[in-house]
């Protein structure tokens, strides 16, 4: 047996998929690329109002003043077609994407007892994806297609002869000339056509009439052009007006994720990455990729990630559309070790990182990565990957010497008096006084092979009034790089009263 799943008015359904409120209204679809071609598809309410496909928009509006004309969206059609094929793929691996909005499935070999129940579940699955489907089952692809056309919403052809007998001739879409000749002969349905001898019909009307006769008799067999269902989970929407607030985006994203989570579930996949694209009014697009720390199909988790990001997003231009692409992956299954303490909720942690990045800036949150250079203060913060860390403890490093440095970012400019190659007096906005002891110099240099050449001479100094600091000389300029230990605030407060001290690192 073969099954055909048909989405009637496919292009209009795709356009109305996320506009549920318009489904009961008179709506027509038009291709903006070819406006002279007239209306492509119309809704039932529009048909009742007298609007017909092919009419120009003024003609249609003259018939129905309340008619809403939507632009065709190829992105939305692609998403709907992908959803259709994914559902079909749950029935059999042998699928043919016959045309936009319908596909044929080879069910030979599948042991199904209740075809009606199977079809009903498929129609229901598509309904949950906001797609109205009709499904027909027949012994060959053509019969299954005819059954799908007449299904309300499911039709299983048990007796092909009886089913075909009542069908009108034009159901087989014959060539207009051939149809006219047959009508002149008084042949209006398939039963009348198959009562004629096939050989004589071919002699008079040619081989095309022979093929038509075979189809009318339900005897055609054709191999399916099989396709592999691409795991592309994408939803898109084009706004009619420019959007300058985040609420419409969140509203649609919620619906997108609702659909995509269902589709991922049907394919037994989870989201590994999300790519959000916002086409902007100036023609450019804002693109952001989110890696899901712990791949999931949980809609709430995915939505929170997007919500957190959009909350802090500021764009120079308004959004004109929205596109969300999910890269699927297999669900992780891992056995944690007995003494391991992994992240309790990696996705929540990812969300927190997003909030922190919004608060302090992306470059100010992360795991320290030391750059491959000896240049002082060569670090950067990278996104943490805690969930990927193994359970092996890092070896304890007890080789550190001296007090850790607290670095001043930026360094504080200073004037240093040097006697016999040693600093003896320090003057700066932060620290002033006599140097009681000094260690150094510690010299380092690098980058001599290119223009980014650097050279520094560092000193650790102890002040007579207390406090340990690191001084650095670069050329003829001295600066305080940081402190190892500073006097307690009472002393520092006294110093503040004397000189205006800038806040460190701000």
């Amino acid at each position: 047996m073969f099954a055909v799943i048909l989405l009637p008015n496919f292009r209009l359904q795709a356009a109305l998929r996320f506009r549920e409120e318009m489904r009961a209204l008179p709506v027509a679809l038009m291709d903006e690329q070819t406006p002279k071609a007239g209306l492509l598809e119309i809704s039932e309410a529009a048909a009742l109002a007298g609007v017909m496909p092919g009419q120009t928009s003024p003609q249609a509006l003259a018939r129905c003043a309340k008619l809403t004309i939507l632009a065709r969206s190829l992105e939305q059609e692609r998403s709907a077609q992908a959803a259709l094929l994914e559902i079909a793929g749950t029935l059999s691996p042998e699928i043919e994407a016959t045309a936009d909005g319908f596909c044929t499935v080879n069910l030979r070999g599948s042991r199904v007892n209740d075809w009606q129940a199977l079809c009903a579940s498929v129609v229901e699955a598509l309904a949950s994806l906001r797609l109205r489907a009709q499904m027909g089952i027949g012994p060959n692809p053509d019969l299954a297609f005819l059954a799908a056309r007449h299904a309300r919403p499911v039709l299983v052809v048990q007796s092909p002869t009886a089913f075909l007998a009542d069908l009108a001739l034009h159901e087989l879409d014959p060539a207009p000339e051939l149809l006219a000749v047959l009508r002149d002969w008084g042949i209006h349905n398939l039963a009348q056509l198959t009562s004629l001898p096939r050989g004589d019909l071919m002699d008079r009307l040619g081989p095309e009439a022979g093929r038509l006769w075979e189809r009318a008799a339900g005897q055609t067999e054709r191999p399916l052009r099989l396709v592999r269902v691409a795991e592309e989970f994408c939803e898109a929407f084009d706004f009619e007006h420019e959007i300058d607030t985040v609420e419409p985006l969140l509203f649609l994203l919620r619906r997108f994720l609702d659909q995509l989570a269902l589709r991922l579930g049907n394919a037994y996949r989870v989201a590994g990455q999300m790519m959000l694209t916002l086409p902007l009014a100036n023609g450019s697009a804002y693109v952001r990729t989110f890696t899901i720390p712990s791949p999931t199909a949980d809609m709430d988790v995915l939505f929170r990630i997007l919500h957190t990001h959009l909350d802090g997003l500021r764009l120079d231009h308004c959004a004109t559309g929205l596109r969300l692409l999910i890269a699927p992956t297999r669900a992780e299954r891992q056995q944690f070790q007995l003494f391991e303490t992994p992240l309790r909720d990696p996705n929540r942690f990812g969300e927190t990182l997003g909030r922190l990045a919004a608060l302090v800036g992306t470059e100010n949150v992360g795991v320290v990565e030391m750059l491959d250079t000896h240049r002082p203060d060569s670090i950067r913060l990278c996104p943490p990957r805690f969930h990927e860390l193994g359970s092996v403890a890092a070896p304890a490093d007890d080789s550190a010497v001296g007090l850790p440095l607290r670095r001043y970012r930026p360094p504080v400019a200073a004037q240093v008096r040097v006697v016999r190659h040693q600093p003896v007096r320090l003057e700066s906005a932060r620290v002033c006084g006599t140097v009681s002891a000094a260690l150094g110099p510690y010299r380092a240099s690098g980058g001599w092979w290119d223009s980014d050449r650097w050279s520094t001479e560092e000193w650790d100094v102890e002040m007579e009034a207390g406090g340990l600091y690191r001084l650095a000389r670069m050329g003829h300029e001295w600066r305080i790089e940081g402190s190892y230990d500073e006097p307690l605030p009472e002393n520092r407060r006294g110093a503040q009263a004397l000189v205006a001290i800038p806040e460190p690192g701000v």
Binding site: E340, T341, R344, D345, P346, R348, F349, T352, L356, L359, V360, N364, V365, G366, V367, V368, M370, D377, I379, L381, P384, F386, L389, A393, A394, P395, A396, D397, D398, S399, A400, V401, G402, L403, P404, L405, R406, R407, Y408, R409, A437, A438, L439, D460, V461, L468, G482, S483, Y484, D485, E486, L488, P489, R492, R493, Q496, E503, P504, G505, V506
Partner: protein, 235 residues
């Protein structure tokens, strides 16, 4: 003019009121039942003085480390090593962008947040506490100017303490002087390092610091805030 002892210490007045206050507290506790704090564990610090006194840092509680900047930095670097050994995760919220890493192996489990000021750092700590994934959160305010720290409202610390109670994270606020009223434990350290410290192993410096631990007595006992000093001076 002499001031009577009753004026300075009005025991009789407060004695009458104590019972009413206790009744009022019971009434409020019945009317607004608070979520019971979780039984937190202990996170070892590797500082002999602190571990001997308390076993380590209390999880689900706010700890204040009030010391000179040198001791604060020693504490932070000591905790990195412990986090690496315990295979848990830590976060350092640095309000003055002063953190200088020295042990790359211990940094893979450390989330660093550089903030522009103290209030931003408090907000970042709040976010991390609500996250619930991090076992140790260190809010480093030691290098922040005092004037900026004094602008932090006192209720901020109570809010952080309430948040910490709902988690199993140990929260340490590093300050230049005692200012976190809501801290359950306060740690202080000796001060006055000389340049000779720069020639000693860091582990020896950690051991040489005089870590002193003060524990806040449970509020329901209605006794003075700081119960006792559990001092462990390591030579």
């Amino acid at each position: 003019m002499s001031v009577s002892e009753d004026t300075l210490y009005p025991h009789a007045y407060f004695g009458d009121q104590t019972e009413k206050v206790a009744q009022l507290r019971c009434l409020l506790a019945e009317k607004f039942p608070a979520m019971p704090p979780r039984a937190g564990g202990i996170l070892r610090t590797g500082l002999a003085g602190v571990d001997a006194a308390e076993g380590g840092l209390r999880c689900g509680a706010l700890t204040e480390l009030s010391a000179a900047t040198g001791a604060g930095a020693l504490f932070i670097h000591s905790m990195f090593r412990m986090v690496s050994q315990e295979r848990c995760f830590a976060a350092l919220v640095d309000a003055a962008r002063s953190f200088e890493p020295d042990c790359p192996a211990a940094l893979v489990r450390l989330l660093v947040v550089f903030c522009a000021d103290a209030m931003q750092a408090v907000k970042a700590t709040d976010l991390l506490l609500r996250d619930g994934n991090i076992s140790l959160i260190m809010l480093d305010l030691q290098a922040v100017p005092l004037r900026q720290l004094q602008r932090i409202p006192a209720n901020t610390w109570h809010r952080l303490q309430r948040l910490a109670e709902q988690t199993t994270a140990a929260v340490v606020v590093l300050t230049p002087q005692p200012m976190v009223e809501a801290a359950q434990v306060r740690i202080t350290a000796g001060e006055g390092w000389t340049l000779a410290a720069q020639r000693r192993w860091q582990r020896d410096l950690i051991a040489a610091a005089r870590w002193r631990v003060f524990v806040r007595r449970n509020a329901v006992h209605h006794t003075p805030a700081w119960e006792s000093e559990r001092e462990s001076a390591i030579a």
